[in-house]
Subunit: 184 residues, 2 copies
DNA sequence: CTATGTGAATTTATTCACAGCA
DNA sequence: TGCTGTGAATAAATTCACATAG
């Protein structure tokens, strides 16, 4: 809506979009200190700013990708990161045939150089390596002072609790579908 | 635990795993009609069976993959689908150079043949095509009588409400991390 | 004795209803 | 007049506490 030049939006409109009660919208926002205008609604630009602040997305982050296989390459090509203020600023792999190559304008580096992330102010990492390499990759990332990890390997990784890990399991997302499907 | 030959588990053990109160576990299960044994706990095999039934994962499903690019290839290589009873039984692409090739033992078919899914009893689909092709792919899947769609393209797709769509946005998952990270 | 299953008590979340402000 | 912000009312979820079954 912001891109379409719209200025304001009401709690009712917002509620319709997400199929929710308008009070819910107003109450939730009010917990963060009412940033709407009575009789008008919420200023869209301001609303975006506030929500980004609440979700700690008001500061940009650099991220590193570990593992430039099929999944890693797909991630590098994904257009959506910039919208949230993310910059995938580095890519690493262990395969000598990939190291030194350019993928989507990013030079693939040797995974043994992960330590350099600290100096380069990269505090997020995306793990897209084979299952067996996931834990050791996570360990290296922790040593490199990374603070958040998005893990695509289908396994648990354990890290010190100062580091946040979010693990994605594609198969589990597919497994959510049958519940909503008619029992033919 | 089942694979490790363990027979029973208590609500307390289960609760510890997911960091939750034991009552929560017992109450939740009880809504589906108490399948534990007093003084003993829950029989693991039985518990798995019950939960699969609740989540409608007690019948196997066939799925089709649409789009055999980097992401699609990664999905085909993903080991986790079988565990939930899914079989990725077909793959489709629009690129003549890919059609006819084998990827992970699956023959890539022409996307214009999606109609055949109905006859082949494939009721789930995974969309891994470029953003611009996502909606037309979804339309074709609906015509082919698919009942559930997992959409990896970073865009909304609209379908009749008899079809369930779950859309994944990798960038949004990365965006969840900063909230939990220390504000250095 | 041990651990489930469940009414009752408590806490949390949502919705109502309207005062208050542009 | 229109829509936010918010106390009060309602509804839902969680936890307690204990009777009950193995």
């Amino acid at each position: 809506m912001s891109e379409q030049g719209q200025q304001n939006i009401s709690s009712r409109n917002l509620a319709d979009f997400v199929s929710v009660n308008p009070c819910q919208i107003r109450k939730d926002f009010s917990y963060f200190g009412g940033f709407g205008t009575r009789g008008v609604g919420y200023k869209i630009e301001e609303l975006i700013r506030q929500i980004k602040k609440i979700l700690k997305l008001d500061v940009a982050h650099k991220a590193a990708l570990i593992g430039v296989g099929n999944l890693g390459s797909a991630i590098l090509a994904h257009p959506g990161f910039r919208a949230y203020g993310f910059d995938i600023a580095a890519a690493f792999d262990s395969d000598p045939k990939k190291i030194g190559r350019r993928v989507k304008d990013i030079m693939v580096e040797d995974v043994s150089n992960l330590g350099a992330l600290k100096r380069r102010k990269i505090d997020l990492a995306i793990i897209a390596v084979p299952r067996d390499a996931a834990q050791q990759t996570a360990d290296a990332l922790v040593r490199a002072n990374v603070k958040g990890i998005l893990n695509f390997s289908p396994c648990y990784v354990t890290v010190p609790k100062k580091v946040k890990v979010i693990s994605l399991d594609i198969a589990m997302d597919l497994a959510r579908l049958p519940y909503y499907m008619p029992t033919s």
